[in-house]
Symmetry: C2
């Protein structure tokens, strides 16, 4: 822990906010906000780094068509047009200037009167807050994860969303009685992290990717089972990988189309290949797919050619953490801090100031969420 | 318990069997089978009555197009043609003569040497066996449910499938933390039973029906919430009924199309109508739909406009009974026997001999599963 005194934080900070209006426009702009004095169990953080995760884009752009992004006429900001359905889906946030950014990291520069808060002064902490795209924030210490000595804010910038999601998938797999899992966006930042986690824990993982080069990427990182959904042999390759691993649960970020149905049907095919008595209700093996993202916004189409022992559902990190309780959640968080430069390391393709983050050209780039090009906002940069 | 001696059962019995062949034909015919002597914990039952439930049709006709039903040229029997997909789905039973009929009732006419078996001689029992369309069957006493004195075999003929399914739905609702439920085929035999059960137990039930006369039928039976999916006001009526009952779980026998999606979306609309903080992940209320039938065989289409707290899955009686364990299952069975002429009563629109059951005209009639026209096979009739 640092014992040097930090300069007092300023009374105001620049931040990014996003507003949807009923004319079907989302506006994301840089503005000023107050930095409150920390209450006894709070700290104020000088934010050095905050990633743009896929899960941040929803709050930032509300489903807008990013090809329509144009610069604001005046302050630093960007506007984009929403399809009508997206306006309806965002009825609950119309005219509200929403802060953005689920997580980030920085240095504690002020603390409330409690001993726990005072002990954090000068430390590098990761945090989860929903408003990390700002220069300074005051928040409860319960939202902070102090990092081991020597960890930089950039290394600590993504300590919650991807690490706890990867851990949550493996924990959910175990809790529900499965022994291996499928992930449908194997080459994503989360996918690469899950690949490392499963290797560390000896858990079977079937990585689905959509490009041949991503097969190479994952194999180069030691993945045993990588199947490419763009190939003609996809169904056979998938069946072979499911058979080899015994995976009967999948986590799917695609959502739309027939992928979930294909996963359930292929799991069923593998489960019933062993023979046994015929049942027109299918095998007794429970097959589960959790949808945790919606890269394909079209409807999910289920052919129901996979017996009756199946489930499909939404999966979100926060309800998972609530379900497992504080003690287990704290164990997971501590593991993330301990392995933040190894299992749970993130890497970034480009860095953006707050002004860059609302630049239309940058928006079009990071909005693609291209593999290997993850964006990191560095709010202290000008 | 009767103490009169019963005549010994014959060594052979007539029975119905169904066979699928790889030329895409299903043949259901009456033939002879042996009636084994009962082992120590077995009894032989003279079967007096066995219902044709929707769940029996799958084994009987394997998904055949019943409009193609024609009489066999020779012994009593019927043939029908399967679409190619149905042949593939039945690969596990090709050329096997499958017995039919999940449940039935009759009188115990012979018993094994154990005290428990001997005590059942002369008693009227319901049973679950998978081969009830026969004149006599020998089976373990564990498959039998002895009826209170004065209950006729016809009254006892359907003691498992519908009663335990109705109870299973309400128990599943409770086990998963819901307080009211939706049933998508309210006017079915099962639906009417569930309506009585929910009234008896004070459980909120939303009945969905597809015809105006079924609204009248259920209202006449005291149902508080009946919504007709054929009307223009369906969505509003459904939302009002969900709001009034607080139902957040549904049991759906339709399966295909958009009904499950509509149920989840309407539950979400009701759950989020209370206001509260906007979340682009939707409400925190978990919404669940279980598909337990497939009246519409088309794909299930999910629009995913219902947040992230949702689940969809298959639901079957046997895994449910296995999950709750022997003790709770026995309590449910005992309740069925106690209330077989009230809560769990079934009624029938027509009665069929074994020969009638394989008559093409009768097949076309009972294959429609029309409301109020349930068929009862009476194997002792000639």
């Amino acid at each position: 822990m640092s014992t040097e005194s930090e300069p007092s934080p300023p009374a105001t900070s620049l931040e990014v906010r996003s507003t949807v209006t009923d004319d079907g426009v989302v506006t994301m702009a840089v503005g000023e906000t107050e930095v409150p004095e920390p209450a006894p169990h709070e700290v104020t953080i000088r934010i050095e780094a905050a990633p743009i995760n896929p899960s941040d884009l929803g709050t930032m752009f509300a489903g807008a068509d990013l090809s329509t992004a144009i610069a604001l006429d005046g302050p630093a900001g960007v506007q984009a047009t929403l399809p009508p359905a997206a306006v309806a889906a965002n009825a609950g946030r119309l005219d509200k200037a929403m802060p953005c950014g689920n997580e980030g990291a920085g240095v504690v520069v002020a603390a409330g009167s409690s001993t726990d808060a005072q002990a954090m002064i000068g430390r590098t902490v990761g945090f989860v807050s929903g408003n990390s795209y700002a220069q300074f924030r005051t928040m409860p210490i319960a939202q902070c994860l102090p990092m081991p000595d020597g960890i930089t804010p950039e290394q600590a910038a993504a300590p919650f969303v991807n690490p706890l999601t990867a851990l949550g998938m493996v924990e959910t797999m175990r809790d529900e009685g499965h022994t291996a899992l499928v992930h449908t966006v194997g080459a994503s930042n989360l996918g690469l992290m899950l690949n490392r986690l499963c290797q560390a824990d000896g858990v079977g993982l079937v990585n689905i990717v959509r490009k041949p080069e991503h097969v190479e990427l994952l194999r180069g990182l030691g993945a045993d089972h990588v199947v490419d959904s763009s190939t003609e042999s996809f169904l056979d390759d998938l069946a072979a990988a499911l058979d080899a691993t015994g995976a009967t649960i999948a986590f799917d970020a695609i959502g739309g189309g027939e992928l979930a149905s294909t996963l359930l049907a292929t799991m069923e095919k593998v489960a019933s290949a062993g023979g046994g008595d015929f049942s027109r209700y299918g095998s007794a093996t429970h097959k589960q797919v959790y949808i945790y993202g919606g890269l394909d916004r079209s409807p999910t189409m289920l052919r129901r050619n996979f017996g009756m022992a199946w489930g499909l559902g939404g999966w979100l990190l926060r309800p998972f953490l609530a379900r497992i309780g504080d003690e287990r959640a704290e164990q997971l968080r501590q593991r993330v801090a301990d392995e933040i430069t190894t299992t749970f390391a993130s890497s970034y393709g480009h860095r953006l100031s707050l002004a860059d983050a609302v630049d239309p050209d940058q928006v079009k780039r990071y909005g693609q969420m291209a593999t290997g090009d993850k964006a990191l906002i560095t709010p202290q940069a000008s």
